[in-house]
Symmetry: C3
Subunit: 276 residues, 3 copies
Amino acid sequence: MGNPDYGKIFENIKEHSPLIHCITNYVTINDVANIILAAGGFPIMAEEKEEVEEITRMCDGLVLNIGTLQKKKTEAMLLAGKTANETGRPVIFDPVGAGSSGLRTETAHRIMKEIKLSVIRGNVSEIKALCQDKAMTKGVDADGKDALTKDSMEDMISMGRRLSEETGAVILMTGAVDLAVFGRQTAVIYNGDPDMARITGSGCMLDGVLGVFAGASPESLFDSVVTAAGTMGICGEKAAAASRGTGSFRMCFIDEMSKITAKQVERGIRIEYKSK
Amino acid sequence: MGNPDYGKIFENIKEHSPLIHCITNYVTINDVANIILAAGGFPIMAEEKEEVEEITRMCDGLVLNIGTLQKKKTEAMLLAGKTANETGRPVIFDPVGAGSSGLRTETAHRIMKEIKLSVIRGNVSEIKALCQDKAMTKGVDADGKDALTKDSMEDMISMGRRLSEETGAVILMTGAVDLAVFGRQTAVIYNGDPDMARITGSGCMLDGVLGVFAGASPESLFDSVVTAAGTMGICGEKAAAASRGTGSFRMCFIDEMSKITAKQVERGIRIEYKSK
Amino acid sequence: MGNPDYGKIFENIKEHSPLIHCITNYVTINDVANIILAAGGFPIMAEEKEEVEEITRMCDGLVLNIGTLQKKKTEAMLLAGKTANETGRPVIFDPVGAGSSGLRTETAHRIMKEIKLSVIRGNVSEIKALCQDKAMTKGVDADGKDALTKDSMEDMISMGRRLSEETGAVILMTGAVDLAVFGRQTAVIYNGDPDMARITGSGCMLDGVLGVFAGASPESLFDSVVTAAGTMGICGEKAAAASRGTGSFRMCFIDEMSKITAKQVERGIRIEYKSK
C-alpha cells in the first residue's frame, strides 16, 4: 500500500472543478461554501425537498451534515442521498452531535441505513454513537477529546474497521490526530494544529473538502480521504504560523487552502499506515 | 447620457443611511448584512410571514434573493415585495439558481409576475432563465461563464433590453464584465477581479449594495445601479491587491467598501455606454 | 460594592469551559459560535423542538436571541428556557427588534413571562419595548441611538431598575456606553469603539460572551455581566487600533477575545457605579 498520488488527486480537482451539493448546518454553511471554492470545487446549497433530487443529479458529490438538525432537512437529506446513490456519486456524512441527543442519534442511524455512504467523518464520540452493537465499541472511551491516543489506537481501529465493513464507507475519525479506516486499509494522519478546535467549523469544512477531493477522484476513495485530511492539517499548521488569534486563524486557514499545492502536501503530510 | 453624479449618490447614502430589508439565503446572510453596513446602510433581516409587511413598511429598500430557497420564505418574499410596491421603495431581485431547478425557475417567474421589480441581478444563465419567450434569448449561450464577451455582447444587450421592457426593471448581468440595461440605456462596467468568483457571496453582497445605493437615490435608479456595480468592482480590485488568498480577499473586500469614497469611484470606474 | 474579581471570573471560565446552548439568528450565528470559543466556552446550536430540552440539560447556560424570528424557533426557545430554569442554569435573553414589529414585541413579552431570565440585553429601544407599563419608561426616548447620555441616564436607570425588579434579571442596555442594572446595583461601562456598530453581530456576540461568563460564574451574576461587557468593550478598542476597515475589525475583534486576560481587563475597564 503506497502513498496517494497527490499530483493526480490535485490535477483531477483542477480538471473537473467538482460541483458539491451540501445540506449542512447554518452555523458554518458560509465557511463550507468558501472552503469548497478555495479547494477548487463549486458549492451548491439546496435543502428544499422539492428541488434536492434535481440539484444532486447535476453534482459530483454530496455532503450531509446534521448540525442544527431540523426534521424537514432530514427528509431532504434522504432524498438527496438516494439520488447520489443512483448517479453513483460519493456521499460524505457528518453525524454532528450523534450521541448528544436522541434525535441526532436516530437521524444518524436512519441516514446510515437508507443511504450508501462513501465517507463518514466524526469525532470519536460521534463515531461511537453510530455503532449499535456494543461489542463494536469495546475499549473506546465515549469522551472523544483525548481518545485518539497510542493506548486507545488499537480499539479505535477495530471500531472503525467494523463500522467500515458494516457500511462500506471510509471511516474518518478526527481529533488531535486523524484516523482513516477503509476495510483493511488504515492510516493515521498526524497533521493539524490545536487552533483548529478553537474555531467553529473545522470539521464541517473538512466535510466540504472531502466532497471536493472524493468528488474529483471517486475511483480512489481512500486516497482522496487521506489526502483531504492531510491537506486540511497542513493548512491548519500554516494558518497557525500566520495568525494572531482565532479570528485571523480562520481567515488564514481559507487563505492557505486557496493556495496549497500537491507538492506542498507531499512534502508536509505526516502519515502512518497500520496493518493488522 | 452622462456619467452618474457619484458625489450626489454617495451623499444621499450618507444623509439617509438607508434601512434595507433583506430576505436572503443563509449561506451569505452575514456577508450581506456586513456589506450593507460597510456601504453606509443598515440591514434588517426578517422572513416570518407574520412580520415582513410591518418590517418592509419602515424600510428604504428591499432585497429578495432565492438562494437556499424555501417555500415558506417565498411567501414572505411576495408579501414583502407587495408592501415595497405600495410604499414605492425599490425592490432588488436576485434569481439565484434560476434555470438549475424547476422550483427556482418557477419561483423566480412568480416573483417577477407578482412584484414590480426595480433591479434584477443575475449571471447570464439566471437572466436567461427569466426569459420565457425563446426569441428573447437568441444567441445567448446558457453557460454563463464566458458569456459576456465581445462577440456575444449584442445578443446580451438585446436580451436585457427585452427583459427590462417587460419588467420595467434595470437588468444587471454580472460576470467577467457587468452589463446594465434599462430600457434604451445600456452600460458595460469593466471593473472587478477574478477573485470575486472564488468566494461565495460576491453576487449576494452586490444585491445588498444595490439596495443601499438604490434605496438612497430611488429617483436615479439606473445611475445607482451602475455606480453600485462599479463600486463593487473597484473594491474587488483593491482587495485583490491587499489580500493573500481567498479568505483575506473576502475580509479586505469589506474593508474597502467601508472606506471607499465618491472620488475614488469617479477615478477608478471603467464604464462604457452603448447606444443602439 | 467593589469591583468584580476579574481573576476569579476568568479562572472559572478556564476551569469549567462552559458549554452554552444558543438558539439564535442565522445572520450572526457563526460569529456567536466563534466568539464563545474565543472566550473559552463551547457553543452548541440546536433548535429542533424535539431535542432542545435534552441539549439544554447538558449545558451550563442558555442564550436566546430573537433575530430572524421564526415561530417554530420560539417554541424551541420556550422549551429550552424552561429546562434551563429547572436545571438552574443562567438564561441570557436578547429581544432583537422588540418594538419593530408586533410579532417581535409579543414574542419578547411571552419569553419574559414564561421564563425566569438571568440577563436581558438590548439597546434602549428594545428594553423600552419590554416595559408594558408606560410609567416605567418615563423620559426614555424610543430612538435608542443617542439615548444613553448624561441627561437621560437617570431615566434609563429608573427604567432598568423597574424591569430588573419585575423580572429578577440583570438588565444590560448597550449603546455608546453600557448600563447594567440589577435591583439596586447599577454600573456604567464606558469601554467600546464606534466600529462595533459598523459590523453586524456585536450585540449577538455579547450575548454569547455573557453566556460564557455567567455560565462559569452563575453565583456572581452582576459581576459576570459587568465583566463581560467591559471585556467586549476593551476587545473593541484593541480591534479598532489593529484593523483597517470593518471587515478586519470583525476579525481582529475575535482575535482579541481569544487572547485577552483578566489582568488586561482589570487595567482597561472603565466602570462607574451609581448609587441612588
